[in-house]
Amino acid sequence: MSEITPELVRHLAGLARILVSDEEVEQFTKQLSVIADSVAHVSKAIDADTPSTSHPIAMANVFREDVVEPSLSQAEALSGAPDSADGRFKVNAILDEE
């Protein structure tokens, strides 16, 4: 059985900055449990020698040459921002850092 608890769901929601209601916590606990159980099921099918996979296609070493390409203009870069000042993105002060 999965170890997804309502407390864990609240913790994850907090990390992801998502506000969840009590009903949602209950709903997500059940849903995440199904997902976690499914993953656990797959884990049973492999042994320690199976290499971990992060991609469905076995591909490696896809590189870009170190050549400058055009960037956006400052106006373009800021065009999607809710707010800006002095050519910069304006964001709320965040108080739990520094």
Partner: protein
């Protein structure tokens, strides 16, 4: 910020064993960023080196910079690391607007380089073998400016402005294993280690390695444990230590602060702390918390990096001389005493001396200028910064003295004008007419005037009491406002005495 109480340093060392750990971030000097083709350049207009990838517009896909990977491998090799046959990128999730993606692309359990070692010499001459845990690739974050509030810091700020030009610039983070046994030299070792890393990346040509620009940055972990205890103490991580001097001071401060707390029955809180160069103290940042649950997972948009043996060996073949070997070579070439040489290393002036000698100065003359007058000026300046003068200019100054064009006193005057931006030493000497007077007529006149008040000097010289000449030379110098060629005055005096 309340200043913490500190234990006397020697006393702290008597009671506690110091364990340090260092994380050094090196910004690579590639042409472009880590995952996009934006320029990697310092000092441009804000948000002009940005694109959909580095400001995280929906659908943008990263692509790894090949040169950045090769530079990272070179750093790993130079640190004696193993290079991983497979390295993967991972997302480090956190919410802070210095990266627009809400995660930093980094490496987690599969760094490109691991298990290295670096021999580091501290000022006493002792050599420590610092073990390297790993070196991994990641991207730098954007720059935040906090607006409002009184101090420009985040406390009390009303809002922050973000420039993403630096976001996505390639970084290599080098992490040491815990370093034991440095004892009272732990602060010096921390600084010497960072200096060595900086020398290495500079020597490799993979970073501009300018600490004042943040090309090399250090976080210092410090913990104490009672002498003889098994268990490691709780550590603090001091951030924002961005000069060698600050690193040394910050580690020493943390040792004294933690010792005071522990000796008085207190406990150390695991937290990040910030170093304030002006106050010479650290202050508490945020404690380790839920926010540090970064939920790393493999970056699905990037495939693994699998450097071939051939690539690794071809990069290994390009590695320059190791810093320790370079020191041995220079010490031999320059013929300094052990102490003279170590002083140069500790003053962090090896590069300057080497370049000055390469520009034609004699090693001792180069040493005299950098370690003497220029060091004095640096010490008297507010930031303790090395004055704004090039090795070529110092070499030119030394050459002017050697050729007898100027004397030491005039050279110091010329140096002042060089630092004021008036041009090269030779230009200044001719523009200001600062050459020493070696015209015999003018010198003889001044000597005769001096002899008129000290008539016994010639007799003294004839009797072999050369120190008597000093009085006349001094008087001539004074009369000619310091511009007399002292060596020539001396010669003329001897000639006159022997006539």
């Amino acid at each position: 910020m309340a200043k913490a109480e500190l234990m006397n340093y020697e006393q702290a060392l008597e009671q506690f064993e110091v364990v340090i750990g260092l994380e050094v971030h090196v910004e690579l000097n590639t042409n472009t960023k880590m995952f996009c083709g934006c320029k990697n350049e310092f000092g441009n207009e804000p948000n002009t080196n940005v694109c959909p990838i580095c400001i995280a517009l929906p659908g943008a896909l990263p692509a790894v910079n090949k040169t950045a990977v090769e530079s990272s491998i070179k750093i790993g090799l130079a640190l004696g690391c193993e290079i991983a046959p497979t390295g993967r990128f991972a997302r480090k999730n956190y919410f802070y607007p210095d990266l627009a993606k809400n995660f930093q692309t980094s490496q987690y359990d599969e760094p490109i380089a691991f298990e290295g070692a670096l021999e580091v010499e501290v000022p006493s001459g002792a050599v420590h073998n610092v073990l390297i845990e790993r070196a991994h690739m990641e991207e730098d974050a954007g720059k935040l400016t906090h607006i409002g509030g009184s101090t420009g810091r985040i406390q009390g700020a009303e809002y922050s402005l973000v420039d993403y030009n630096r976001a996505g610039v390639p970084l290599v983070e080098i992490v040491t294993k815990p370093i034991y046994g440095a004892g009272s030299e732990a602060p010096e070792l921390a600084a010497a280690y960072v200096r060595s890393v900086r020398e290495i990346v500079k020597g490799l040509g993979v970073s501009d390695a300018r600490m004042e620009r943040g090309n090399v940055r250090c976080d210092a972990n410090v913990s104490l444990r009672k002498k003889g205890a098994e268990k490691l103490g709780t550590r603090t991580e001091t951030k924002n230590v961005n000069s060698l001097r600050s690193i040394e001071r910050a580690v020493r401060y943390e040792i004294q602060r933690q010792a005071h707390i522990l000796a008085n029955g207190g406990t150390i809180i695991q937290e990040t702390r910030h170093w304030h160069e002006d106050k010479g103290a650290t202050s508490a940042g945020r404690p380790k918390s839920d926010a540090d649950d970064y939920r790393y997972f493999p970056e699905p948009d990037l495939v693994p990096v699998q450097p071939s043996r051939e690539l690794i060996e071809s990069l290994r073949a390009t590695l320059p001389e190791k810093p320790a070997d370079r020191r041995k070579r220079l010490a031999g070439e320059w013929g300094f005493s052990e102490l003279e040489f170590r002083d140069v290393v500790n003053a962090d002036l090896l590069d300057q001396l080497e370049e000055t000698v390469a520009a034609g100065a004699k090693p001792q003359a180069a040493r005299k200028w950098w370690m003497g007058e220029l060091a004095r000026i640096a010490n008297e300046s507010e930031e303790g910064a090395i004055p704004n003068i090039t090795p070529a200019q110092v070499a030119e100054l030394a050459k002017l003295i050697e050729d007898g064009k100027i004397n030491d006193r005039l050279a110091r005057e010329v140096l002042g004008y060089v630092l004021a931006g008036e041009g090269s030493p030779a230009e200044i000497v001719s523009a200001r007419g600062l050459e020493v007077v070696s015209d015999d007529g003018a010198l003889i006149a001044a000597i005769e005037a001096a002899l008129a008040t000290q008539p016994d000097v010639l007799d003294a010289i004839r009797e072999g009491r050369m120190q008597a000449a000093g009085q006349v030379i001094g008087a001539v110098m004074k009369a000619m406002a310091g511009s007399a060629d002292a060596a020539r005055v001396r010669e003329l005096l001897i000639e006159m005495a022997n006539k």
